[in-house]
Symmetry: C2
Subunit: 107 residues, 2 copies
């Protein structure tokens, strides 16, 4: 995945991934990799701070649990998070269509 492509779309991806399947950070990274056909390889230094930010913003909530001796922080999307996600999905569609519109005209 090209350098800065993610910029501005990270929240959308994280919210969508968690909506699909509530999970802890490490698993979210895995899920994104799988669902993207291996194209989304987000480093931990990107994902963890973003999850914290989304929780502080009230879009995600988390609880600690333990699995096979390792502690996990599992996230799920809040009501406000769902609303925000839907808005960002809408924004993505618009942006995507806008880019396609420019590309089409230049073939």
């Amino acid at each position: 995945m090209r350098g800065e492509a993610l910029r501005g779309h990270l929240d959308l991806l994280l919210l969508a991934a968690v909506r699909a399947r509530p999970a802890h950070g490490y698993a979210i990274i895995e899920n994104l990799r799988l669902r993207s056909g291996g194209n989304l390889n987000l480093p931990e230094g990107t994902v963890y701070p973003a999850l914290h930010r989304l929780e502080r913003a009230g879009l995600l909530k988390s609880r600690w649990s333990e699995a096979s001796g390792r502690r996990r922080r599992t996230y799920e999307v809040t009501e406000r998070g769902l609303t925000e996600l839907r808005a960002q999905e809408q924004d993505w569609r618009e942006f995507s269509r806008a880019v396609e519109g420019v590309l089409e005209g230049s073939t």
Copy 2:
């Protein structure tokens, strides 16, 4: 258009817009607005420096002209620019598919 959405996709858009129709900066901004259905409203402070950067990188070349008393710098895509554009188009498709893949699974 949402805040940082453009990040990392500006070069693609500019190269594609100029490939579609060689033009001067101000017109490129207009063309992007039109081709995107009004969604891409790039400020001059974004576009002009980017055009300079792309020219320095050898992906665009420009020449000065004059139209109705006002000077214009008209850009066109170089050979290298075309190659780069095709690569970035490929990257865009991949990124776009990756995002869609994540969104689909979370409906």
